[in-house]
C-alpha cells in the first residue's frame, strides 16, 4: 500500500513539474516561433511581391486585425505586411485563396496605396504537376504587376490581359479569382491600416 502511494506521488510530482516547465518554455518561445514560421513560410512570397527599396522588416511590423466572419460566424483575423520607406507605408502585402482545379490556391499579393498590384506570388497549391502547377512560374505571375481591379484583371479569353496556362484554365482562373478577392478587400484594409 505504501509503495503504491509512493509510486503515484512520485509520478504525479514528476509529471506536474514537467508540465510547469514546458508551459513556461512554450510561452517564452511563442513569439520567436510565430516570427520564424512567417519568415520562412510567407517571407519569400512577401519579399517577391513588394516593390523594391523598402526599409523595414514587413514581418516584424505586421498589422493584425479582425475583418468579417467565416461560415460559422467566427471573426477572421487578417494579417497585413506593410512595406515602409522613410517611416511611411508605401505598399501592403497580404494573402488570399480561391479554389483552382484541385483544392485551394493560396496567393500572396503586393499592392501599392492606389490599389495597383506590385506583384503576385503563389504560396501553396495542389494543382496537377506539370500542368496546373505551372501557375507558379514567373511568366504567369509577372503578368499581374501593374494591374488594378478592373476588366483588365481577367484571363485573355474573357477579355482581360492575363494569358492563362494552356490546358489549365481552371487553375489559371483560380489564381485570378484569388487576386480579385484580395483586391476587393483593399479599400477596407487601407482604411484599417492607415
Amino acid at each position: 500500500m505504501r509503495d503504491l502511494v509512493k509510486m503515484v506521488v512520485v509520478l504525479t510530482v514528476i509529471c506536474s513539474a514537467s508540465g510547469l516547465v514546458l508551459s513556461y518554455v512554450n510561452e517564452a518561445t511563442k513569439e520567436p516561433r510565430e516570427y520564424q514560421l512567417l519568415k520562412y513560410v510567407k517571407g519569400p512570397s512577401i519579399k517577391a511581391v513588394l516593390p523594391e527599396g523598402y526599409e523595414n522588416d514587413p514581418i516584424t511590423d505586421k498589422i493584425v486585425f479582425k475583418m468579417g466572419t467565416d461560415e460559422k460566424g467566427h471573426p477572421v483575423e487578417k494579417t497585413i505586411f506593410p512595406a515602409k520607406k522613410g517611416g511611411k507605408i508605401v505598399a501592403l502585402a497580404y494573402d488570399s485563396a480561391a479554389p483552382g482545379y484541385h483544392g485551394n490556391i493560396a496567393v500572396m499579393i503586393g499592392v501599392d496605396l492606389e490599389g495597383k498590384l506590385t506583384g503576385v506570388s503563389i504560396m501553396t497549391h495542389t494543382e496537377t504537376p506539370g500542368l496546373g502547377a505551372r501557375v507558379e512560374e514567373p511568366q504567369f505571375t509577372q503578368q499581374f504587376a501593374g494591374l488594378t481591379l478592373s476588366e483588365e484583371l481577367n484571363l485573355s479569353t474573357r477579355g482581360g490581359r492575363i494569358d492563362g496556362i494552356s490546358g489549365a484554365t481552371l487553375s489559371s482562373n483560380g489564381v485570378v479569382n484569388a487576386v480579385r478577392q484580395a483586391l476587393e478587400q483593399f479599400p477596407k484594409i487601407k482604411e484599417e491600416v492607415l
Binding site: 512520485v10 509520478l11 514537467s18 514546458l22 518554455v25 520564424q36 520562412y40
Partner: protein
C-alpha cells in the same frame, strides 16, 4: 580518473551508433549532409545530458516499478524543450530534421543510458557519461553525414570539395546509400579494432 573514463568510453570503445548498434533511425535518416548530422547529434546530446542528470538526481526516490515511465516523462520533456527551441531559433534545421526531432524520445541510446548508467551513478559521473556518449554520437553522425554529402553532392558542410568534374552518386543521399555507408564504416571499425589488439 573516474569522470574522464566515463567521458572517453563514449568516444571510441562504446561509441553509440557504430559500436552499440543503437539509435539507427536518426543515424540513417538525417545524415544526408554533415550539417544535419551535427544538428541532430547536438540536439540528442542535450537531451541525453539533461535526462542523465535528472534521472541520477531522482534515482533514490523513483520506485523501481514505475522507473521506465518516470524516465520517459523526463526524456520526453527535454525533447519537447528541444523541439520548441529549434522551432524558435533554428527553423531551417527544424524543417530538415522534421519528424526525427520528436523521435529523439524513442532513441534507445537515451533510455538505455538512463537505465544502465544514470540510475546507478551520481550526477557528475552521469553528466560525464551523457556528454561522452552524446559527443560520440554527434561525431559519428557528422562523419557519416560528411561522407554521404561528399559522395552524394561533392561537398562537405556545403563547401565544394571535389570540383566540377566530379559526378555525384545521387544514390548516397537515398536510403540504400545510408545503409551501405554505415555497413562499410562498421566493417572498417572492426578491421581497425582487430589490427590494434
Amino acid at each position: 580518473m573516474g569522470v574522464a573514463k566515463e567521458f572517453t568510453k563514449g568516444l571510441w570503445k562504446e561509441v553509440p551508433p557504430f559500436r552499440l548498434v543503437l539509435g539507427l533511425c536518426p543515424t540513417l535518416a538525417v545524415t544526408t549532409a554533415a550539417e544535419n548530422g551535427l544538428g541532430m547529434g547536438l540536439a540528442t546530446t542535450f537531451v541525453l545530458v539533461c535526462s542523465n542528470f535528472i534521472v541520477s538526481l531522482l534515482r533514490s526516490i523513483i520506485p523501481s516499478k514505475v522507473r521506465i515511465a518516470a524516465y520517459i516523462v523526463v526524456i520526453a520533456s527535454f525533447v519537447v524543450i528541444v523541439e520548441l527551441t529549434m522551432q524558435a531559433y533554428f527553423y531551417p534545421l527544424y524543417k530538415v530534421l522534421g519528424i526525427f526531432i520528436p523521435l529523439i524520445v524513442v532513441n534507445c541510446i537515451i533510455l538505455g543510458r538512463a537505465e544502465a548508467f544514470a540510475s546507478k551513478n551520481g550526477p557528475v559521473l552521469s553528466i560525464a557519461d551523457g556528454l561522452g556518449m552524446g559527443l560520440g554520437f554527434t561525431l559519428s553522425l557528422t562523419f557519416l553525414g560528411a561522407l554521404r554529402e561528399l559522395l552524394g553532392s561533392g561537398t562537405i558542410f556545403k563547401h565544394a570539395v571535389l570540383g566540377p568534374s566530379f559526378e555525384p552518386f545521387a544514390i548516397m543521399l537515398k536510403p540504400p546509400g545510408a545503409f551501405i555507408c554505415l555497413g562499410l564504416i562498421l566493417a572498417t571499425m572492426n578491421l581497425i579494432s582487430t589490427r590494434k589488439s
